[in-house]
Symmetry: C2
């Protein structure tokens, strides 16, 4: 392949940040393999555990990893370089540049969500102020699918596939032993992953029968009534609840059951069954339903090997490759956004967008994706999600021809 | 295929009981397809929701389901006929015979665990006392792997595969964002499924770093110390905990956090995150570790479509077929047990055993499978479990060649 010379010659550094996904290593390896094609990129460094690894100079030489290893890592869940949840202080940024300069890093790539985009944005601004010539790119990743500018983000589709498959099985489990089953799904402010549970419906009467998203206020009075109504109708009820559901004042329902806060100021929602258990208690207290259970899908949603959307894996790899192409091309900085082409056939393209346009704030489920009753999704959402998530397992059911009593 | 005439001509009834598995329908369909070959079996009925369906005469005509439907159902998780957790009273048994006689049922098959074997045993004894000629067979199923007489039971290997894969991903997640991660696994009295987490270890230092089984008393004092020691050694700690862990007096640790009891007298363990959350609280209280999380794998372990051990699916199907072969052959009643042939090559065979020999009591992890320190498994367990569970996803990791600071 033809090699071209870009504006500045130097080393590349790439790192991963935030919650892992099953395809975040695809982006990493996509970037590394593309970087190997460009002469202006000399050494290819990976920082261990994001900016923490830069601060501590815990760097590894990714250029010396074999292609076989790179390909194996690409197909492995979780962040191969390790991750971090750390918002750099101004002092951190000053130190980061010291380290980047010391290692002559001229191409910097940070894979992560909106918090990570903010981190990349801060580092980029500091670099500009310091007059240090560096190409700085954010590569998108988040199972929450809440990055602005993007049709969807790498990591979401595979987690959505996990959630949909889990609901397919759990709905059949609930049909076998009827009762109320509440499943708590990841998604702090955006309901996309919870909404993906609707993909599990493959026959009339299939669950989830109720879907509660963080985009609509959760009503503790109405909830038991809606569950009771579903049980009266279906003889059972499977419920999808976002971990991020909040009351009408915006207070997280889960906040009453947990106290932990990370350095970005986010309340810990995952890694606890408290919300699900509290909702079970509510149903038992307010209705006469006896069999009520809750599962919190937890970290399995973002790290389960073997349940991967093919599109997601491809797009994650391509997003990493695209970032290096942009950085070695005409662009100085930016974030790689995934856009969808209009038309019936599912097709995406990448667009470079400003770092600040994806940093900090998050995207929510659009109103058109949420049913008017507030506890279901629309056909528009299913049409949006199906091609991204791809094929789901086939479910077989008996015709159930009754025998005369 | 040649058809033979057995002692008694009449209808067959099959039902499913207890917790669903991803391969319980393989056994059902294996039995139905075999039954179609035998002239002495006339109608093939399925009772909906186990003995409840017999009592209510909620029967369906499985003989009229197409082979395509049967094959699709075989590959679908959860109990296609619906399930039940109900221990029949003597009055129930009297009524069951009324219904069985009314429908001229002469071949009765009940798929389930030890509680279900007990139910089949009671029904069989009642039939004998009533002088009603009926072939009565129990077909084994349980993700807990706790049926006596069996090397392992259909359903276990697929759930074990799910647990192992979940730990593979979760261990990498924990390696990326280090801390303490506690995963609570199904298994009321038997630790086989929790032990299967050890199959996730594919590199030096991989988790789970601690494995707590119900076969060893759980020490609330020692637990935080052992976790702390693992964190000091590995910089993190992934823990597998059986939902059934008990103190030295035999009292379930989870019992303090739940009150629900089923009709077999069992405390509800699944469908709640209480145990995991309580253990997290304990670690935070007794150590200085700040990032501590828990996930309870819950019903996903037994109902997740697409994560199936090939051996498990085959053996479950063959166990159903074998039951019908025995019932139409020389045998009147019994349970189908899976035995393993000695030797290096993994091979199983079936043996008819007495119903009472698998009823009621459960099997536990043998001492040879449990490490002397009480919080790990032995090589003997891994050698036992690996061929049953089969292939797991490949994990790729970087060599991590350090860059000079």
């Amino acid at each position: 392949m033809a090699k071209k010379i870009a504006k500045v010659v130097g080393n590349m550094l790439i790192a991963q940040s935030g919650g892992p996904t099953v395809v975040i290593n695809q982006s990493l390896v996509g970037a590394v393999l593309e970087a190997k094609k460009h002469q202006e990129i000399q050494k290819i460094y990976g920082a261990l555990h994001g900016i923490k690894g830069i601060l501590n100079e815990d760097l590894i030489d990714l250029g010396r990893e074999s292609v076989a290893t790179l390909k194996a890592v690409a197909q492995t869940p979780s962040s191969g370089l390790g991750s971090v949840r750390k918002k750099p202080t101004p002092e951190d940024c000053a130190k980061i540049f010291e380290k980047l300069k010391k290692h002559n890093v001229r191409y910097f790539f940070y894979i992560g969500g909106n918090d990570s985009a903010e981190t990349a944005h801060i580092i980029n601004e500091e670099a500009k102020q310091a007059g240090y010539e560096m190409h700085c790119f954010h590569i998108p990743k988040t199972v929450d699918n809440d990055l602005r500018e993007n049709d969807h983000t790498p990591g979401f589709a595979s987690s959505a596939k996990f959630v949909a498959q889990a609901f397919m099985g759990d709905d059949l489990d609930n049909a076998a032993l009827p009762g109320v089953k509440i499943n708590v799904i990841m998604g702090r402010h955006a309901g996309f992953l919870t909404a993906a549970s609707a993909l599990a419906r493959t026959y009339p009467g299939a669950g989830p029968h109720l879907i509660y998203l963080p985009e609509r206020p959760f009503d503790l009075e109405k909830f038991p009534e809606q569950v009771k109504a579903a049980v009266d109708k279906f003889g059972r009820c499977v419920v999808a609840v976002s971990e991020g559901i909040s009351d009408s004042s915006g207070l997280a329902i889960a906040a009453a059951f947990t106290k932990e806060v990370d350095s970005h100021g986010n309340v810990q929602l995952s890694g606890s069954g408290a919300l699900g258990d509290a909702l079970v208690g509510l149903i038992k207290q307010k209705t006469d339903i006896t069999r009520v259970r809750a599962d919190t899908f937890g970290y399995l949603q973002r790290s389960f090997p073997g349940v991967v959307s093919e599109n997601d894996a491809k797009e994650a790899f391509a997003a990493g490759r695209e970032a290096v192409k942009c950085a070695t091309g005409a662009d100085v900085d930016g974030s790689i956004a995934i856009r969808r082409k209009p038309g019936k056939q599912y097709q995406i393209y990448f667009e470079r967008v400003e770092l600040r346009s994806v940093a900090k704030e998050t995207r929510h489920m659009p109103d058109a994706f949420i049913a008017p009753n507030g506890c279901d999704v629309t056909k528009a959402f299913l049409d949006y999600a199906r091609p991204i998530v791809g094929k789901l397992p086939q479910i077989g059911r008996f015709k159930r021809i009754p025998v005369k009593k």
